[in-house]
């Protein structure tokens, strides 16, 4: 059985989709925010691999088929963006300044906390690109001499945090404008947060997509300047 699991191509796909379905069901039954299907699926998949002693490589052989779709899916975010572009044109300053404020607050908050906790330069540059989408963040971290696997880890945790808490947190801090919600989610928690913004509404989703692209590119430009501060 163990050998079969290691060789099977569809095991990874089945495990990913199956645990995600369990996550959807648990969310429906409990109605609890922490029962986020993405989080449930990750935890159960890791648990299954550890319990059966199956290596990540044999899981990834099949499961990577699912992540190959990530690039085309991200490309498709151009559609809601195109359909909602009127919102952007009408609120050009609000959107632009909101994204710039997001990028700056990301880097400043990381700088502040790294100094406060006495972490080294490598930890700092590893964390700097944490709010942008994984593929850009990896490149930024590598260029600045960060620890790339850790960067990926913090980026994913950031995204999941946004995905789980965005709706409640934004309500708590009284951000009610759909445009502002979208910009907040996209700036803070990139693509993983955006999939939540998509569920919240067309405008939220489109503005969140816009924020991913813009804050990603802005971070590429400004991160190397911020990297010199420690």
């Amino acid at each position: 059985m163990h050998d079969f699991l290691a060789e099977s191509v569809y095991m990874g796909v089945m495990l990913t989709l199956g645990t995600y379905c369990i996550g959807i069901w648990m969310k429906k039954v409990s109605g609890w925010t922490l029962m986020n299907p993405l989080l449930v699926s990750i935890v159960l998949s890791i648990g299954f691999l550890c319990a059966t002693g199956t290596s990540y490589e044999s899981y990834a052989k099949g499961a990577d088929v699912i992540s190959y779709l990530l690039t085309p899916a991200t490309v498709c975010l151009a559609v809601p963006l195109y359909e909602q572009i009127e919102h952007l044109k009408r609120n050009y300053y609000a959107v632009t300044l909101g994204i710039v404020a997001g990028v700056l607050s990301s880097m400043l908050s990381i700088l502040g906390m790294v100094l406060l906790l006495g972490m080294d330069h490598q930890a700092y540059v590893t964390l700097l690109p944490k709010s942008i989408t994984t593929a850009i963040g990896m490149g930024v971290s590598e260029e600045l001499g960060g620890n790339v696997p850790v960067t990926i880890l913090v980026i994913v945790i950031t995204g999941i945090t946004g995905n789980i808490f965005a709706e409640k947190f934004l309500r708590l801090i009284k951000v009610k404008e759909p445009i502002a919600k979208g910009i907040a989610i996209g700036s803070a928690s990139h693509v993983i947060g955006t999939s939540k913004a998509m569920e919240m509404g067309q405008t939220e989703g489109a503005m969140s997509s816009l924020a991913i692209v813009t804050s990603g590119v802005l971070t590429v430009i400004t991160a190397s300047l911020f990297a010199q501060l420690t």
Binding site: T16, Y20, L38, I42, I46, C50, A60, A63, S67, L69, L70, T71, P72, T74, V75, C76, A78, V79, Y82, I85, N91, Y93, A94, G98, A101, G102, S105, S106, S109, I110, M113, V114, L117, M119, L127, T133, A135, G139, P149, V150, I152, L153, V154, V156, I157, N163, F169, L170, I173, E177, I179, A180, K181, A184, A188, G205, S209, A211, I212, V213
Partner: protein, 130 residues
């Protein structure tokens, strides 16, 4: 058949994004170039939304599932942070909420401010007319 064509169009833009990634020296991923290219194509009416509607909607809705495999892959990077994971986790949480709050408030403040100004201008014009 329709869906195959839709998928083909979307994959073409992903491929074009990949190509730009290869040709340009920036650490920007193929998907981001792809968004920009597809957006331009939609604006220029080279591609119409209805030509990719169903497949693009399906892909966007299914997106969270696609993050599961890379996230599971993180079991292998655990070694790198097991000594100071509380710090990493604290910074990640704090900064995520800080960014969300500041970006959200900034955007909302300016939108409301512009709305108020518009209302004031309109009521101002009303008085002039009266």
């Amino acid at each position: 058949m329709r869906y195959v064509i839709q998928l083909f169009i979307i994959i073409c833009f992903s491929f074009a994004g990949e190509l730009m990634r290869r040709l340009l020296p920036f650490p920007i991923p193929a998907s981001i170039y792809g968004i920009v290219l597809l957006f331009i194509a939609l604006e220029l009416k080279w591609v119409k939304v209805k030509q990719i509607r169903e497949v693009s909607t399906t892909l966007i809705i299914s997106m969270p599932v696609m993050f599961v495999p890379p996230a599971v892959g993180l079991i292998s990077s655990w070694e790198n942070i097991k000594d100071n994971w509380p710090e990493y986790l604290a910074i990640t949480f704090a900064s995520t909420f800080a960014v969300m709050a500041i970006a959200g408030w900034t955007t909302q403040r300016i939108i409301l401010w512009q709305k108020n100004r518009r209302i004031q201008e309109e009521s101002g014009n009303g008085k002039d007319n009266a």
